[in-house]
Symmetry: C2
Subunit: 577 residues, 2 copies
Amino acid sequence: AQGNYPHNNSSPPTWLEADEDGQWTMPAKNYASTRYSGLSQINRDNVKDLKLAWTFSTGLTPGHEAAPVFVDDTLYVVTPYPNTVYALALDGSKKWEYKPDTHQESQGMACCDVVNRGLVHVNGKLFFNTLDNHAIALEADTGKELWKTKVGDLQRGETMTMAPLVVKGKMLVGNSGGEMGVRGWLKALDTETGELLWTAYSTGPDKDVLIGEEFRPFYAQDQGKDLGASSWPPEMWKIGGGTVWGWLSYDPELDLVYYGTGNPGPWNPDFRPGDNKWTLTVFARRPDDGSAIWAYQIEPHDLYDYDGVNESLLIDMPFNGEQRKVLVRPERNGHVYVMDRTSGEVLSANTYVPVNVTDGVDLKTGQMRKVKDKQPGTNRTVHNICPAAPGGKDWQPSAYSPRTGLIYMPHNNLCMDMHGTQANYIAGTPYVGSDVKMFAGPGGHRGAYTAWDPVAGSKVWSIKEEFPVWSGTVATAGDIVFYGTMDRWFKALDAKTGELLWKYRVGSGIVGQPVTFQDKDGKQYVAIFSGVGGWSGAIVSGGLDARDGTAALGFVNAMKDLPQHTDKGGQLYVFSL
Amino acid sequence: AQGNYPHNNSSPPTWLEADEDGQWTMPAKNYASTRYSGLSQINRDNVKDLKLAWTFSTGLTPGHEAAPVFVDDTLYVVTPYPNTVYALALDGSKKWEYKPDTHQESQGMACCDVVNRGLVHVNGKLFFNTLDNHAIALEADTGKELWKTKVGDLQRGETMTMAPLVVKGKMLVGNSGGEMGVRGWLKALDTETGELLWTAYSTGPDKDVLIGEEFRPFYAQDQGKDLGASSWPPEMWKIGGGTVWGWLSYDPELDLVYYGTGNPGPWNPDFRPGDNKWTLTVFARRPDDGSAIWAYQIEPHDLYDYDGVNESLLIDMPFNGEQRKVLVRPERNGHVYVMDRTSGEVLSANTYVPVNVTDGVDLKTGQMRKVKDKQPGTNRTVHNICPAAPGGKDWQPSAYSPRTGLIYMPHNNLCMDMHGTQANYIAGTPYVGSDVKMFAGPGGHRGAYTAWDPVAGSKVWSIKEEFPVWSGTVATAGDIVFYGTMDRWFKALDAKTGELLWKYRVGSGIVGQPVTFQDKDGKQYVAIFSGVGGWSGAIVSGGLDARDGTAALGFVNAMKDLPQHTDKGGQLYVFSL
Ligand SMILES: O=C(O)c1cc(C(=O)O)c2c(n1)C(=O)C(=O)c1cc(C(=O)O)[nH]c1-2
Ligand SMILES: O=C(O)c1cc(C(=O)O)c2c(n1)C(=O)C(=O)c1cc(C(=O)O)[nH]c1-2
């Protein structure tokens, strides 16, 4: 698979700065969410000599999912709950730390471990969220708190785990709690003052969803008035989920923010006949006032907890002979969606893992063709649902290399049995109505790392992994990609061939996001958290009993052997040549 | 300081196997407790190239003090409470783990963090203690529990943190709890069955202390009947301390086990007029029946919590023109004692840190000359006591290199103010009667690493460290020594000159014990736990409030800035070239 790249004539958006500045200021690296670095000091030829420069222990044992951020020779990290922020010098010493006052009860509210996915550095300020629903801004030089705004309500089961996106002086933040009957939202705060500027709910009448004059959904089923309320049994949109706990991208030329919404609640679909809009929906919104420009509901009436919160990679690529501005979304439902990001049209949606609950997307209507006999419901068990609830891919974000034109996806290979039960809404308690048991998908491996050609809509190469690949990934101009495994390997592959070039045994399984950057003397580093946890790793981070397969919402059944490979414990690893 | 070594004609005992087998089977490396390895692949010239091979996270956050043990290409480690044992392959993968059922209350009983100092491998079996007073034997190949014996009583405030010594089919174990009015003891268990063979109490009548016919103490003040009872106010020997939480050595030729006992309780000396025998006493005992052969009370009527539990290094060395079998004891009271190990005679006792509470040992009588106006008592504050309660050196064990003839001592430089208060004995609660505030000793640094010539009785070189050096150390035939610092550096020095040859930034401060070993292919490794804690690190591992200087029995006052340098979190580091 050597040769001229990219074969496929894809490219980053024209507005994306092509020059690499060596910094890493936000988890997604840039607004296009390519997680690509133009650095090449560490490359295909010498990555075998990569050495651990130093480590830093956080003393915390939940899953460490955050991407480190690097600006002006300082590394910034935010930990899982209690969401301590550290500024570290490049010799590994602490410059400062900031420990927010947090509410302990938030730990009991989080569905999937008390994780945090990262902070953002903009103009000398750091922005991040706490599990207990506070958005916080710090002075990057000193760690001084500039402001702190409460945006959610623990009593209703709300929490926050997502990394914010900062756009045009606004900090965009969303909530978690889809398994607690929370009503999802995206909020914009003024980065100077922390003041709430607007709230876009995921469910409810158009005025709450910020659907107005300019709203132009591409497909018929997404058109109509107040669908966010009328596609639900009366009042149920108020506890209907559609949380916003994943990734946001931004196209400054089109002035559109993109993100997807989570699953409807409860999981058991019998309790919510209807399309359940706008759960599992991709939104394009104006950052200034939040108004919706288009929306596409990936799956009306979700059956399997296929949250639509995954990353949107913004690239330009040929489609039917024409160059299109697209967003590429490796969806939880097992398909990589390529969508026109100006209009919300689905250009292609091909499976990257075995899928047996749908027959794919009808590209004319945008509708998902569901397989009838895989429909779960109360007191009914459906066997062998593929993919399982965490999907073909969960939150773990992909990367795009303009040098290969490929998307690099860390992902799962899981199926499940699902049994519908009763579900009663009590504020601040689980609202699921489903018993799940997950297991390895076809092939017997539970994870994979796949290079995907978004133009051809097909796999180029794929590496099987024993466990779900629950880490992020980074691609570099050195033509290598990095990712971590839950059984404690940090790996570098040849971006073109997938050949394993280097691996390193870290202390605890990896569910963090690798980043790379260069110091002011031009030396390149790679950094990643180890510290297993998250939904997939809860058996270890939460010390769950392997005998109860339904624990951790059914994930434990698929991860019984994880404790043989790793214990918990958060530690930052910084590598260099 | 280059030249022919050893200058001083010291040597290991003649019975010590000179050939290096590349294993590390017990924390002290051998019965002589030299902590010296004959391996030299990693040496003065190439240690600068030492690299981290892999790490392993325990997911636990107390102080990690244990020495790893290496036998047949397997590393064995025991963690702090809950005292999990891991067998790890040399690629860092887990072979097995053993989690004892333990009583959570034991955590509240430990004076100085819930540490454990290591396990021992003998003939395919592993031996270790749990904080909640169980001695346990495991099958090394499988982790199968062979037996488990309860040897102490949590209700009385007993705990266990020490590493056992196995001698002649007996596992020797001692208790902790000197700050709870515990009565100290050493017990011998049958290594095959776990059966209790004998108990030697540290206080009480001769029959309890196993003082009989053969007992020949060298000095007059240690001779007499039932001194362990009569040197106390009535009955107070029953709650008098003298715990056995430190290190044991063994001379197979003389067939004597050596160890020292802890402080008398309570700290406030007004409550216990008398010599308080046999606290702060070095014992020589027969392993077969525990009978005492000689004893030397280092300090009768201890005033400052100067536990006498430190390591005894067994070497042979010239003294006044004659070669003597000695034990070298870097005591907590700030003196390095050189004692004839056949008789208990003190040959020399010179200070290695500033001492202002005594005028040294009278070598004729063996008696410590105490400075009157430094005597603390109820409602009295004595200022500037040097050394402070943790002594010139606490439990952190020294090493001896036969190539240099020097003793390498990781140690403290701390002084304190002490204020006597009331003390009431209630079983299982603190029994101290003293408020302490520690601070840096003369020079302003709080720790040092010192090379000591036991023959000359003087310092050869010394490296100042900002924090107490609370790690162990190892000396090797590569003429290097290793130790770790609480501010996250693992260091290698030239054993002859003290020159810093290499340092590495680990994740959390080091209070563990480095060891070195070689795999079956002849590759040498160095391993050490990071994970700050122990008494000195309790401010971090226990999350104590820096504003209360008297917290952690007064240690917090001296460690307020430690949290700026390190967080907690246990991780094993394994290095190789
Ligand atoms: O519906 C929600 O609000 C919500 C929140 C979260 C979260 O905040 O971590 C997860 C999920 N859902 C979820 O479905 C999921 O698979 C998941 C995995 C993880 C993780 O961090 O490993 N979080 C979440
Ligand atoms: O009197 C006792 O029983 C006892 C026990 C222990 C222990 O078991 O760790 C310590 C001490 N005392 C003690 O005096 C002391 O300085 C100390 C330091 C440490 C440590 O692990 O850092 N433990 C202990």
